[in-house]
């Protein structure tokens, strides 16, 4: 059983949703980012998404754009992001870790080499924003052949005709982008979330994690009652943007993570 499968099975036993956290690798710098990463499981993160910075994050709003700029400005690259995962895995063998980003840095690194290095580092899954199922042969198939899950984004525009295409070959969990828009923008209403969950349920048995626009413990709890996972990204990344020192950035992210975790854990399903 993969780490993602075990984690979602465990949470099902506990009758609660997963808190899925996103931060960008190398933001604000390598050492602080590694400290955040290592601190997240104890702060209540059940699944970790780690962003691979890119100069042109076309689907991200201002918060994550700036995170990319900070990380790249401090010399982060794919080699270092994979190194960060290896260092994380030295102490943590349970928490699933998913890399998220855009295709070009992986393409430049070399797909074969990337898949091998990601597997060796202990990466459990990939979310690649600009690789729709039409391009499964690029990375999805080689990654899955190496036992790395390929997690699909589904959106309000993914209609019933297209859902099977998107879900075919997806594994790990399904990430539902609850609003058409960039990261960190507006949020969906609970009615919309319920409708989407019901619709997705007809097409897949994979755990459903819902993201985009979720910022507070109360909001996370609302979503946690309706899905297998709640994804929070921009709100955590904002803690880094507003911090005066790297230590404040670490404390800010982990502090908010603890609050979100309390919200999610209190929300029995």
């Amino acid at each position: 059983m993969s780490r993602l499968q075990s984690r979602f099975a465990e949470l099902k036993e506990q009758n609660r949703a997963a808190l899925v956290t996103f931060v960008t690798g190398g933001d604000p710098d390598y050492a602080s980012s590694l400290a955040i990463l290592k601190g997240l499981p104890a702060a209540g993160a059940d699944v970790i998404e780690l962003g691979m910075p890119f100069t042109d994050p076309m689907a991200d709003g201002p918060a994550i754009q700036l995170a990319n700029i900070r990380a790249l400005g401090n010399g982060q690259n794919l080699l270092k992001t994979l190194q960060m995962v290896r260092e994380f895995r030295q102490d943590d063998r349970q928490t699933p870790l998913v890399l998220m980003g855009y295709y070009n840095p992986i393409f430049a690194y070399g797909v074969e080499r990337f898949v091998a290095d990601a597997q060796a580092a202990g990466v459990d899954g990939l979310i690649i924003v600009d690789l729709p199922p039409e391009h499964n042969d690029e990375l999805c198939e080689p990654a899955q052949a190496a036992g790395i899950d390929f997690i699909r984004l589904t959106t309000p525009t993914t209609d019933d005709a297209r859902l099977p295409v998107v879900l075919n070959g997806s594994s790990g969990f399904v990430y539902y982008v609850s609003v058409a828009g960039v990261t960190g923008a507006g949020a969906a209403s609970m009615e919309q979330v319920e409708e989407a969950v019901a619709r997705l349920r007809r097409h897949t048995d994979l755990p459903l994690c819902i993201g985009f626009g979720i910022r507070t413990p109360a909001h996370a709890a609302e979503v946690a009652r309706r899905a297998e996972g709640v994804v929070v990204g921009s709100a955590l990344v904002d803690q880094i943007a507003t911090a005066a020192t790297p230590q404040q950035a670490i404390d800010g992210v982990l502090g908010l993570c603890r609050q979100l975790a309390e919200g999610v854990r209190a929300a029995r399903r």
């Binding site: 992986i106 690194y109 600009d130 959106t155 525009t157 297209r162 982008v177 058409a180 828009g181």
Partner: protein, 403 residues
Amino acid sequence: MSSLRTGPDNKGLFGRFGGQFVAETLMPLINDLAAEYEKAKVDPAFLEELAYFHRDYIGRASPLYYAERLSEHFGGAKIYLKREDLNHTGAHKINNCIGQILLAKRMGKQRIIAETGAGMHGVATATVAARFGMQCVVYMGTTDIDRQQANVFRMKLLGAEVIPVTAGTGTLKDAMNEALRDWVTNVHNTFYLIGTAAGPHPYPAMVRDFQAVIGNEVREQILEKEGRLPDSLVACIGGGSNAIGLFHPFLDDQGVQIVGVEAAGHGVDTGKHAASMAGGAPGVLHGNRTFLLQDADGQITDAHSISAGLDYPGVGPEHAWLHQIKRVEYVPISDDEALEAFHQCCRLEGIIPALESAHALAEAFKRAAKLPKEHLMVVNLSGRGDKDMQTVMHHMSEQEKHA
């Protein structure tokens, strides 16, 4: 011999270039667009309307002008200029804008967004949006806004909202990122009117088809004037829509030599250029796989060119493929070479070319001198230079200071 004009395949690929590398939110819309375009391009009513606007609104056909004095000056090839600068709004951009807005109308979209570099595509988009009564939002980098004030004002006069983009270096690539973000957010009512033959499928093929009117006219015009096809074609390449529009109808004519001119800025070896084929590598950006300016980590690097319209770190995927199979020869021309050609064209022909087009002229002049008088060369004069007065003035005063 098999035809080179049948691409892309059903996945939107030209060889291994092109494709649909976009966020899932956009995929359903892009597929709808591709399906609608397939229908429109064989619909006589659509084609008739397009032809009407070409003729009575844009002023097509644009002349194929024999540049007698330039030809004499260089003493070699017979140089013809395809006068896209005489189109309504002053460049080839409007050919594509008319086509896409007719498609937007067909699809019931009411809001048009666009990215622009030099502002020519922004102006052309604002123009057709005004003509068809649609809301228009144009994303433009702040660097480009500074160097293209007149075009910003033009867009506003035409009723468009111009949104400054500060990210990155504030040029075309950043404007395109921002337009994509708008599109993801407003996908339900918005049509993204991409200005060049790049982006996710079907844009590269669709924009090419709308621009192919250039090459199709040249074919008829040169046959009428000279009784035979040209020996060579020369056009400048940013994203490459004017070039693919000229080249595509001739791809299967092996006797026609085809030359694309990239912007070498300060020089391809200086790192300050926009020549993605001479100085870049294959990668994936803005929905397609193509040649890109990037570092070893796959991070996109900034392009530089004196001409805002060529200041983009990528190139249309069909050009990437034509480069790979060597059907088209791609060469770099520097800022200084383009400026020299700009002045020569002004003084010898009384035509002020766009700085973009001046890149094509510079390469044409280099070649013309060495070619026999019976060589027929067609250069795409893709736009007029009125928008570049400030840039050229600035450059001339800098030179005087250093003289």
